[in-house]
Amino acid sequence: MPTFMQEDKNSPSSASREFPEASAPGRPDFLSVKNFNFFYGKKQALFDVSMDIPEKQVTAFIGPSGCGKSTLLRNFNRMNELIDGVNYTGDIKLLGRSIYDPAIEVIALRRSIGIVFQKSNPFPKSIYENVVYGLRIAGRNKKAELDEAVERSLRGAALWDEVKDRLHESALGLSGGQMQRLCIARAIANRPKVLLMDEPCSALDPIATVKVEELISQLTEEFTIVIVTHNMQQATRCSDRTAFFYLGKLIEYDTTHKVFSNPSQKQTEDYITGRFG
């Protein structure tokens, strides 16, 4: 069993470099954000955001372009640190442990929190090598282990039947929808605790979109999912909870049903009825 999944329930005070195993099912603050402010240089992109994201559910971030939803998403696995001159205050915790804890390696964090991007980006390698990339870089190269991971991940991404006979062909020969499911398989091969999805269907045709949305509901059996989407119908179809962002602030965060049928904030109502967006 990989070291990062081993149990370590007393983590906050220990010098452990990994995240603790989830202690109770359905934990409501699986991923939690506390008074988080984020800056691109001098420009502030997120203002005092606080929210708790529950385990093994789908949480959707909605809001107009530039509202900060992708920015927040990419902070969960510290991808924004790849950009120069960014800064933050506040905290983000996974299973009660700060993701900014100096004892944690960013690369271990990114194995625990996986991400799928808007435009699918499989490597120019074979399908097999794409899926096992995350394992190889973690030092796991045993063929039996990799073969098992490939089948498990491709089945989990509802792609196995379509590609099982051509695992060693180039991933770039797949269709757009297949490539995105391959990226999902690649992300879940690492067995992350959280799967981040940044507008995963916006570059896909409607049929491929349906396949990915079906996949999302299956994935919540094993993963906590946070999805950024421009498409409000998608949020209503796929998510359990919805967070509405506007100009870097979290305006409303509640169950999807409540946000879309009876929002408590006027801005939310204006957005979902299409008065702006």
């Binding site: 696995n77 991007f117 980006n121 490597f123 120019p124 990339y133 870089i137 992300a187």
Partner: protein, 296 residues
């Protein structure tokens, strides 16, 4: 007057359609296209005439023995320039061993580690300046650094001179090759928990490799043909090189030496050596084009 009448006849009587009503405009048009076509054909003349002359004058003596024989003494016939072929290959190889790692690793630094840093900017500027340095200066540099300190002309010195010549080309084309790798690949790699080093080794370099090889082949093609850097670093030799620390023959210096002597056989040999050199350079360039085309 008939509203359709004479005007429409004017349209149809001109050869170029509705918009060109004057004959002189049509003529101007034709003149410019003819001029462009002629000049384009003219640009092919130097290359084609070089190839023609080199083939015409070099083919007669082209036989296997030129690769195995040694340069004939003044006035003698027979022999070949096998040592010069080997010398060119060896010194270009030495230059590559020095320039390729330096160029590629520097390109990795300025593109992957510190794209906007001061050092990176300085390196880029220096590389661009280096491309303009006359090749004889590369020879002077190698003379000062290797020949003066070691006390002898050598293949090492020739290799160093060629390395200085090849370095800016390799560095700048490698940088372009790395820039050509989609940032989406890097993002995906980091997102899966890879370190920068792993991302460079596993994703970026393999994807950039064809373009890097193209840059290397272009640098090799240029270096193989240079004479000035070798004239007073490797000098020349009539014999097979026994070590890299002694004066070494090269194709370009052989051509230089032999074409100016009053012996017709030697001049003929210079043509044949030119043929071999042109063939090598052309092959390297074509290989570079093919390798690049395969990727795109």
């Amino acid at each position: 007057m008939d509203p359709i009448g004479t005007h429409s006849l004017d349209f149809f009587s001109e050869g170029d359609g509705v918009y060109s009503k004057s004959a002189s405009r049509a003529l101007g048009n034709r003149f410019l296209s003819t001029l462009c076509i002629t000049l384009s054909l003219l640009t092919m003349v130097p290359l084609l005439s070089i190839i023609y002359l080199v083939l015409k004058n070099g083919l007669p003596l082209l036989k296997w023995s030129v690769f195995t024989g040694l340069p004939p003494a003044a006035g003698m016939t027979g022999g070949g320039f096998g040592n010069a072929v080997v010398g060119t290959l060896v010194m270009v190889g030495l230059g590559l061993v020095l320039a390729a790692p330096l160029g590629i690793l520097s390109a990795i630094y300025i593109n992957e580690y510190s794209p906007v840093g001061r050092l990176a900017q300085a390196v880029r500027l220096v590389a661009k300046l280096l491309t303009g340095i006359p090749s004889i200066i590369c020879g002077v540099f190698a003379f000062a650094v290797v020949v003066s300190t070691s006390g002898s002309f050598s293949a090492y010195a020739g290799g160093v001179a060629l390395a200085v010549l090849m370095l800016p080309t390799i560095l700048l084309t490698s940088e372009q090759a790395l820039l050509g790798v989609q940032s989406a690949y890097r993002e995906a790699s980091y997102g899966l928990g890879a370190t920068k080093f792993q991302t460079i080794i596993r994703i970026v370099l393999p994807d950039a490799l064809p373009a890097i090889m193209t840059g290397i082949m272009l640098a090799v093609a240029r270096a193989a043909g240079e004479t000035a850097p070798l004239i007073f670093t490797a000098l020349f030799s009539q014999y097979w090189a026994k070590s890299l620390g002694e004066p070494t023959a090269s194709l370009s210096v052989l051509i230089y030496n032999f074409s100016t002597v009053p012996f017709p056989y030697q001049v003929q040999m210079a043509w044949t050596a030119s043929l071999v050199l042109v063939a090598f350079v052309t092959a390297a360039n074509i290989a570079a084009q093919l390798a690049f085309a395969k990727k795109h």
